[in-house]
Amino acid sequence: MSIMTAAVIGTIVYWVIYVLDPYIFSWQCINRPIVIAPALGLLLGDFQTGIIMGAALESIFMGISAIGGQIPADALSATVVSVSYTILTGADAETGLAIALPIGTVMASVNSMFMSLWSAIAPYWEKLAVSGKPNKFLAYNLIFSCVIAPIPGALVMFFGLAFGVTGLNNALAALPPFVMAGLGAASSMMIAIGFAILTSMIWSKEVGCFFFVGYVMVKILGMDSLSIAIIGAAIAITMFFREKSMIDMKKELMAAGVQQDEGEEDFF
């Protein structure tokens, strides 16, 4: 497959995913690496690599996405570029993974730049909305989101894929071996950033210990994730109902306490 064909396929995948998620179907589902990488792998003729890279990229991007409206790295473009690069050049997946985050970071700033730019047409949307033409409003919104909004990202994507991959490959081949070792180490440590963001979002003193339970279950007991999810769900459900009954009890006690107070008042 020529680089140009692959660049076109990659750009189309980018475009379609960009429109499907978040505009048309779901939020943070179709545009996750675990979905994109296998799909792109299938189109580029190496399904297996796509699937395996999807798993690895999803681990990296699990926490690095849409935190409080700020997206530090764009998972979609990073996945498209790193999967195309790996499949086209036949490099090992680790190198592909290592270039994913820098590309994602660049694309995230491109995206947020345009996101701010589009604020400029907000007054126009407002005028259109109150004009009493609901179908026109819907149609214009659809055209904007499906056709105009993806253009800047897709352009960057296309040129990056068409000219970047070969350039990148030549550059990487010329590098001393320690750089590759460093890239590999960086990619396996960068995963921790995503998890750190995620953990600090849901961490609380009361339940933080469960992080280590999950860790030990895998590292020491060698359990698979579904089994851990089942055990975790059982703990969560038990906890929910126990706390619920405690809250109910507290309410009953308070109600009883109020009655008692009233009784005493009567007595005196």
Partner: protein, 272 residues
């Protein structure tokens, strides 16, 4: 919960609103965020309620063009609620436009937090955890399972919460809040979330120490020594170091750059 019978008209509007609620982020921008998606979702309701009353329609559209932002699933709940309120506004006049706006604004924050913790921090992690497990072994079934568990559930959630919002109206959120179950729900969800994050840290995070110290005749493999204390103790250390940096307000971009620098320097020194 009692069953409620919808009229033919209500059914039609709710169905149309459900389909349109998938357009939550349409023309998303930084100033009004989901306002366009909300307006589009409200269109069938507004058209059905106000009919030919152009002036009232204009007012209603302007109302729903205001800044709006929440998670995609409670988006449908608030739209359902807004439908109920607009209807009330037209038919009984007991709710004024101001109130509709303030209720919408009041619900954005808490629902976003609640559903982020349920969908984004809990369900997504479970779905991704299972999918990553399957896919890392080369099994493509992880992909449809992920979409089913995390994508289709969003749609089902929207369907249910749109109707819930319309039917139970304002009292619903009040109830959860006053019963004090919101905190409990969040806490239970984060137990599950944390366990899954812990499990995934164990599978994926790795500090690939490749450092051998030669002391006279014997050589010490540092990685093995460290791991004999507790397997992967460096990974946990790295994670909590990063966490404390994030809590101090360091931006992720800098952490990425920092790790890159450490990895490169380490590789140059022969540690990795």
């Amino acid at each position: 919960m009692e069953k409620r019978q919808y009229t033919q008209e209500e059914k039609k509007v709710l169905k149309s609103m459900f389909i349109r609620s998938h357009l939550t982020f349409l023309s998303f921008n930084m100033t009004k965020m989901e306002a366009n998606g909300f307006t589009i979702t409200m269109q069938p309701a507004i058209e059905s309620i106000y009919g030919d009353d152009e002036e009232a329609k204009k007012e209603a559209y302007a109302r729903h063009q205001n800044f709006f932002n929440t998670h995609a699933v409670p988006f449908a709940f608030i739209a359902g609620l807004a439908y109920a309120m607009e209807k009330e506004h037209k038919e009984k006049g007991s709710i004024d436009g101001q109130m509709i706006e303030s209720i919408k604004a009041a619900l954005m924050g808490p629902t976003a937090g609640m559903f982020d913790s349920m969908f984004f921090n809990c369900l997504r992690i479970i779905a991704a955890g299972i999918a990553i497990g399957l896919c890392s072994q080369g099994n493509f079934l992880g992909v449809p399972i992920f979409i089913l568990l995390y994508g289709i559930t969003q749609s089902i959630g929207k369907y249910i919460f749109l109707r819930l919002g319309y039917t139970y109206g304002t009292s619903f959120i009040d109830q959860i809040f006053s019963s004090g179950l919101m905190a409990t729900l969040t806490k239970s969800a984060s137990v599950l979330g944390l366990m899954m994050v812990g499990a995934m840290t164990a599978t994926t995070v790795n500090v690939p120490l490749n450092w051998t110290i030669n002391v006279g005749q014997t050589s010490v493999v540092v990685g093995d020594v460290v791991n004999s204390i507790f397997p992967g103790i460096l990974s946990i250390g790295l994670l909590f170091l990063l966490m404390s940096l994030i809590k101090k307000g360091k931006r992720p971009v800098w952490l990425i750059a920092g790790i890159f620098a450490v990895a490169m320097l380490g590789a140059l020194a022969g540690i990795f």
